[in-house]
């Protein structure tokens, strides 16, 4: 069955990130499988209008400016005519929205259900429950997913989180992990010989959420120690930028580690393998929360040992031979790093190409696209819901907010009828 699929999200090229590469890669693999894919996103600077990317991937840059955090303002009436026009003229069979933080994706799901198209939503992140912003976001997500045909999450923890936040039936949530290009992220041709230096690398945004405060504490302690019977020392390479970078600079100054710790600054995704991962033996990840963590899979694909905090979806990603789990505390991270360094020195770890083979078979984009296609087939095969049922789903979403959203939904429905009449 050949489908025309519209991928909608605020986050796409020229922005670089996990969601962006996910959309691009899955679209390319779906085109390879014979479907027709188009991407809808908002304008980036003066990149407005229709552009074509690799393999005739049509990208619509809608003339809406981003409002907050690279997302557009959720007005609904502003983007509804554009989305309706695109979905009808391109004869789209299915709407696929990405990322809970993208308001354009939610609006597209709304328009998709109003035009009685099957809709799929992919959630890429974990979210809390306790503060005010979380409560508001979760309520909107609940209404958004009330009429969505199917949801995809990137990990089992992500599925539990999404089900709790939006009260979706668990059978309507599939778990399809992200993937990594294991050809681009391959180990170096010449295997590094460990003589006197073991290199630990770190590549993330330097913010609180990534646990960099812990790294700043652990780093001097590890640098002071000698391993392998006193002949091996540990050096660090740190890539990334952010508000916490100054902590690293201060720590380097205080302990005089200029020769031992190299700060690379912000790196492009394409430079990550050559400038960072190919030079390291161990990858350190100290995130405090993570739904999937592509970085550790990229590191495993390049043949590095991974030391990571066991938070969020990380315990589900790699088997024990490729990863050392630690707790988010200075003592635990230090102990984990010491174990990893000793194993690197004694050679008691899998061959780098074994890691690459594992990642290429377990996490590849063609597999993700095939599983996503299965979801599409399930969804397209289901019977369409009547307008009354959809409005009812919205109405039952809450005691006060439910009726309001149901009326908003009906108002949008009449707006679409008006636009249909105007065009005829």
């Amino acid at each position: 069955m050949v489908l025309t699929i519209a991928m909608v999200s605020d986050f796409f090229y020229p922005n670089m990130g996990g969601v962006e590469s996910h959309i691009f890669q899955v679209s390319q693999c779906l085109i390879e499988r014979g479907h027709r894919v188009l991407v809808v996103t908002h304008a980036y600077g003066d990149r407005v209008g229709v552009r074509y990317m690799t393999n005739m991937l049509k990208v619509f840059y809608l003339p809406i400016m981003p409002f907050y955090n690279k997302s557009v303002l959720p007005t609904i009436v502003c983007s509804l005519p554009y989305l309706r026009h695109i979905l009808l003229t391109e004869k789209v069979d299915l709407v696929h929205g990405h990322s809970a933080f993208s308001s354009l994706a939610h609006e597209a799901l709304l328009v998709g259900t109003l035009l009685n198209l099957p809709t799929v939503f992919t959630d890429h992140s974990l979210f809390g429950f306790s503060d005010a912003s979380a409560i508001v976001t979760n309520t909107f997500l609940k209404f958004s997913l009330a009429n969505t045909s199917h949801t995809i999450c990137v990990s089992h923890t992500g599925k539990e989180n999404t089900v709790l936040r939006s009260s979706v039936v668990p059978e309507r949530v599939s778990v399809i992990p992200n993937a990594v290009d294991s050809v681009a992220f391959r180990p170096p041709k010449v295997r590094r010989n460990i003589r006197s230096v073991v290199t630990v690398v770190l590549g993330s945004r330097l913010v609180y959420r990534k646990g960099v405060d812990l790294v700043v504490e652990v780093l001097p302690k590890i640098c002071r120690k000698k391993f392998g019977g006193g002949r091996v020392r540990v050096d660090f390479i740190i890539a990334g930028d952010g508000p916490k970078r100054i902590l690293f600079e201060e720590m380097i100054e205080k302990h005089g580690l200029q020769a031992r710790v190299v700060m690379l600054g912000e790196l492009q995704h394409s430079e990550m393998r050559d400038k960072l991962l190919a030079k390291g033996d161990i990858f350190l990840n100290t995130s405090l929360t993570e739904a999937f963590c592509m970085a550790i899979v990229e590191a495993a694909s390049c043949g590095l040992s991974v030391v990571s905090t066991a938070v969020g979806g990380i315990p589900e990603v790699l088997p024990d031979q490729f990863i050392y789990f630690v707790q988010p505390s200075v003592g635990s991270i230090k102990a984990g790093l010491e174990r990893a360094v000793e194993d690197v020195i004694t050679g008691d770890r899998p061959d780098p190409w074994e890691g690459n083979c594992f990642v290429s078979s377990a996490f590849n984009w063609r597999n993700v696209a095939a599983r996503t296609e299965r979801v599409y087939e399930t969804v397209c095969g289901k019977e369409r819901q009547r307008l009354a049922t959809r409005v009812r789903n919205m109405w039952e979403g809450g005691t006060v907010a439910g009726p309001i959203m149901a009326m908003l939904y009906l108002a949008c429905h009449y707006f679409i009828l008006l636009l249909d009449w105007c065009e005829s």
Binding site: K159, V175, P319, S329, A362
Partner: protein, 280 residues
């Protein structure tokens, strides 16, 4: 089940168990969820004590307003007010020194010097003070004063941390209301005494918090004093004040205590990890 044909479902992403993507065994789904972990529940006494702090500040504001009215209608002479405040200040200081914190002689001398300096400067500037907002109409003055007193109440420190708490804003708002009200007087001594009263009640009285044995008892005393003073001025204002104090000190803590039973917090592996700061 491991009968050799169907592998057991495992919570991993890298292996194909043979199960469909949307399947999770009911016993594994949300298995790690914890509800109401580390829940902080307040007893009724704690609720009332907390509300009593707010009630005390409201009573102080009402007493301030009543003194202003009395000064205006000449029921209270400015000299009487100044002497009373001086007496209370001396009593408060001795109690503070004896019970809370020991002060050295040089510290005491420095304190007396500050008070003296403030009094002299305030007295010297009071003729300017009471002419400052002279041309503005009384209605505007009263509404400005009351809104700044409301801001003072909103930003006061009641013993709990919140983003809105800022003692700088609260003290400045209170002094601003004094400047507004002082302009309604005819004599500069009344203006000066009102200024002293405002500094006394909004800066020094909150400092006496550690002296008082029980917040509920002191709030009741202050509330009764405030309401009895207010009854001499006008009855509608008395009713409103009584209603406000009753809501804040009785209705709100009871409601808060009742609603605690509905508290539900969810914890699980998706939570952001808390960094352990154990000593190394």
């Amino acid at each position: 089940m491991s009968n050799g044909k169907v592998p057991k479902w495992r919570k991993t992403l890298y292996e194909d168990n043979g199960y469909p993507d949307n399947y999770t065994p009911p016993e594994c789904f949300l298995a790690a969820i914890e509800k109401n972990k580390n829940l902080l529940l307040y007893s009724l006494w704690e609720c009332f004590s907390g509300a009593a702090e707010v009630g005390k500040e409201m009573s102080v504001v009402i007493i301030f307003w009543c003194c202003y009215k009395f000064l205006k209608t000449d029921l209270l002479k400015p000299e009487t007010l100044l002497v009373t405040m001086l007496g209370l200040l001396v009593v408060g200081c001795t109690m503070f020194i004896s019970r809370v914190r020991k002060v050295t002689f040089t510290g005491l001398l420095a304190g007396i010097k500050t008070i003296f300096l403030f009094t002299i400067i305030g007295f010297a500037l009071s003729p300017v003070l009471y002419k400052l907002t002279d041309t503005i109409s009384t209605d505007t003055i009263h509404s400005m004063a009351l809104s700044s007193l409301l801001i003072h109440l909103l930003t006061s420190d009641y013993g709990m941390y919140a983003p809105i708490v800022s003692w700088q804003i609260s003290l400045n708002a209170a002094v601003f209301s004094t400047v507004c009200l002082a302009s309604r007087f005819d004599h500069h001594l009344s203006a000066f005494s009102l200024l002293c009263l405002s500094v006394f009640s909004f800066l020094l009285v909150p400092l006496s918090r550690p002296l008082l044995p029980s917040p509920i008892l002191s709030s009741l005393l202050l509330a009764s004093a405030a309401l009895s003073l207010l009854s001499c001025i006008s009855t509608p204002q008395l009713c409103l004040a009584l209603l406000a104090l009753a809501t804040v000190q009785i209705a709100c803590p009871v409601m808060f205590h009742r609603l605690q039973a509905d508290k539900m917090t969810i914890h699980g592996p998706w939570d952001e990890a808390v960094i352990f700061t154990a000593p190394q």
